[in-house]
């Protein structure tokens, strides 16, 4: 039983990272009907921005390993996450402005191909800039085991990851459902034309959507690197694809669906790794994708929409 609880905790922690990335996929899809394949690479860029920021701080202020434990470690981790979010938001804005906005009136397939191009550009540009060999993401928060009754162990980084993810999701929820920006975004996801007809500055809303979704991916990148500290320019590939699967599983375009899909995928992955074999954990995501596409293409919470041709 305690083993099961342990796996569940690990799964939720992993799922919350996937969720942050999946939310970005779903938001961008919502406003542009675009699967932004470069989204996983923003996750990678987030990790690298965090990495260099930490390096910079260590260079100027020295590296004091006694400060790793909370609360200053927590504070520093938060700062790193925020800096990465700002960096990736800026990157997302540039990406939208240069690559996607000129194609606003082109067929959707052009956008999709461009997204693949942007993804490759970031991956191989990253190799040029950061080097192809993996870097070790510095430890910024010492892992403290918190023993729970029943032999379940809660890791302090997991607590940080999970609570940060929850806070970000609550902020996002507020933004999407309680503000004029959120209403505009949802209006655009229904019809871009009608949205601009009633006076919504569509380009501005799309740009902000890109910035927010990129920032979430950036945060996820740092959080992922805190628990799996090996980072390289291609690291965004697999988590990016898995988050995409999570978004499809929940119903792409649906924000609650992204959360649900990511949580389910994170859990399923840790259960498979724990009870069967960890070599199957990556295969599982794609098995899920195939099954969803066969049985319920619109996803768990997705609504059926007739494709307009």
């Amino acid at each position: 039983m305690s083993e099961f609880i342990q796996h569940t905790i690990n799964g939720l922690s992993l799922g919350s990272i996937y969720a942050l990335v999946a939310l970005g996929y779903t938001m961008v899809f919502g406003v542009l009907q675009l699967i932004n394949f470069a989204h996983g690479d923003l996750f990678m860029m987030g990790a690298f921005i965090g990495f260099y920021f930490i390096r910079l701080i260590h260079f100027f202020f020295g590296h004091d390993s006694s400060s790793l434990s909370s609360p200053s470690g927590v504070l520093f981790s938060m700062t790193v996450i925020v800096v990465s979010m700002l960096g990736t938001a800026l990157l997302g804005m540039v990406m939208e402005r240069l690559a996607y906005r000129p194609l606003r009136k082109s067929p959707r397939i052009n956008l999709l191909i461009t997204a693949i191009g942007v993804s490759l550009f970031l991956e191989y540009g990253g190799q040029l800039l950061f080097g192809a060999s993996p870097e070790f993401f510095p430890t910024i928060l010492s892992k403290q085991a918190i023993a729970l009754p029943g032999g379940v162990i809660l890791d302090s980084t997991q607590v940080l990851i999970f609570s940060t993810a929850v806070v970000l999701m609550l902020l996002l929820h507020f933004l999407v459902f309680k503000t004029q920006f959120g209403r505009s975004m949802r209006a655009i996801s229904h019809s871009l034309e009608h949205a601009s007809l009633i006076g919504i500055n569509v380009n501005k809303v799309i740009m902000i959507t890109f910035m927010i979704s990129s920032a979430l991916a950036g945060a996820a990148g740092v959080m992922y690197s805190i628990s799996y500290p090996k980072i390289d320019p291609l690291m965004g590939l697999l988590p990016g694809l898995k988050a995409f699967v999570a978004a499809v599983l929940g119903g792409i375009g649906n924000i609650k669906g992204a959360l649900l899909g990511a949580t389910l995928l994170g859990l399923a992955e840790t259960y498979v790794a724990g009870y069967i074999s960890s070599s199957y954990r990556d295969a599982l995501a794609f098995l899920v994708l195939i099954v969803v596409l066969l049985l319920r293409p619109s996803g768990i919470l997705g609504s059926k929409k007739i494709e307009k041709v």
Binding site: Q180, R183, S184, R186, A187, S189, H190, S191, E193, H194, A195, S196, L197, I198, G199, I200, N201, V202
Partner: protein, 250 residues
Amino acid sequence: MKVKVNKLTIKDLSVNYGNVDALKSIDLQLPPSQIVALIGANGAGKTTTLKAVSGFLDFKGTIHHNGKNIRGKAPHELVANGLIHCPEGRGIFPNLTVYENLQLGVSGRQEALQCFKENLDHALELFPRLKQRLQQMAGTLSGGEQQMLALSRSLIAMPDVLLLDEPSLGLAPQIVKLIFEIIVKINKESKVSVLLVEQNAKQALKISDYAYVLEAGVVSLHGKAAHLLEDDRVRKIYLGEGEVTRTSRN
């Protein structure tokens, strides 16, 4: 003689979709505080005219709003200047609540944002049925209620010029009557100039000051609405018989 600036002045407007000419050199004027109807059969170019006015289409010719050329303006900039378009099929957002739809009505209008509450109350006075439905998803409303919502949303934006595209489409006769009454009321009370596109020509002419008849992208006839009501050719159009409708299919 005092020269009044028209709310809308359309000169020599042409629009084409690829090789198809949708509008061929149209002239149209909307004087202040009037209702001008634009009638004609399906595909005559009525909606195209409105879309050009609200900045959605590339066009040849000129369109002036309050004496200002609108060329090159984005749709949301035109809304900011008070050119409010209530589209065919209502253009409401079914995935948002009724209240949220109304809130979005002021998205681009600073002056409307400031008196949202008053305008909301006023709109709900006109359409009391919406009052109980504010927290409901707009997609669950009936067709008539959706049209009421679309109209209220346009009103909340405090239009200077209201472009109405087929407000009677697909509605029961008593609802159509109500909608038209309210259009007149808006026009009389708030001095809003209305460009009304309608297939329901008879109803539209009854409430309009002036009217234009579009046929296959050309203004075939225009004049005082009361005169057009008596016109033989107009009768043919809305009775759906005779050569007039046949030529407009090309």
